[in-house]
């Protein structure tokens, strides 16, 4: 079992895949990490030595924002927009799409499940 970047314990998967279980690391970043610490991408996490796990951990600490820190950063950015009183902030406050999408239909990701309106059907 390997603990990288706090709580994440990726499994017996290939290293680049296992790394994507960490918030803030996708395929591209995972490949980049493997490249930087010189780990063959075909190897699995349980085949890594402690030193290799440590080098991955150090690389992430030094170069990437990840997990809680990343989540806090995004949250802070959204909060900044809301406090500014700009249009994007208003949209965040109302839980509506921020980037100019239509809201007459769709936009269900932001608005949540559809609410039934009384007497709409004939």
């Amino acid at each position: 079992m390997a603990r990288i970047a706090g709580v994440n314990i990726p499994t017996a998967k290939r290293v680049p895949i296992a790394l994507t279980y960490i918030t803030g690391i996708g395929n591209a970043k995972a490949e980049e990490i493997c490249e930087a610490v010189k780990i063959d991408r075909a190897r699995r996490v349980n085949q890594l030595s402690d030193a290799e796990v440590l080098s991955i951990r150090e690389y992430i600490d030094a170069n990437l924002t990840v997990e809680g820190d990343l989540r806090r950063d995004t949250q802070m950015n959204i909060k900044r927009l809301m406090d500014l009183g700009c249009y994007r902030g208003l949209r965040h406050r109302r839980n509506l799409p921020v980037r100019g999408q239509r809201t007459s239909t769709n936009a269900r990701t932001r608005k949540g499940p559809a609410k039934a309106i009384a007497g709409k059907k004939k």
Binding site: R80, L84, G85, C86, Y87, R88, L90, K115, I117, A118
Partner: protein
């Protein structure tokens, strides 16, 4: 697509002139502008602009975070108080 850098930020000329005049006079009064499309420049920080929303001038106190955005973003043009049905549902 983003605007070309070599053009520089777009600001209507009259906004610049008004801002400068108000800065020189030193009084902290609302500068009425209609140009929602103008970029907020660093030299506007601290001034108060009344940005027109089609009906009235909304006072906007320019802070440092606003630089690079447009005035229109701070003066919403639509009023929406929700549907009557939604309000009824909430009361219950």
């Amino acid at each position: 697509m983003a605007r070309s850098v070599w053009k520089g930020p777009f600001v209507d000329a009259y906004v610049l002139k008004k801002a400068e005049a108000s800065r020189e006079s030193g009084r902290n009064e609302v500068i009425k502008i209609w140009s929602r499309r103008s970029t907020i420049l660093p030299q506007f920080v601290g001034l108060t602009f009344g940005v027109y929303n089609g009906k009235k001038h909304i006072p906007v106190n320019v802070s440092e975070d606003m630089i690079g955005q447009k005035f229109g973003e701070y003066s919403p043009t639509r009023t929406y108080y929700g549907h009557a049905a939604d309000k009824k549902a909430k009361r219950k």
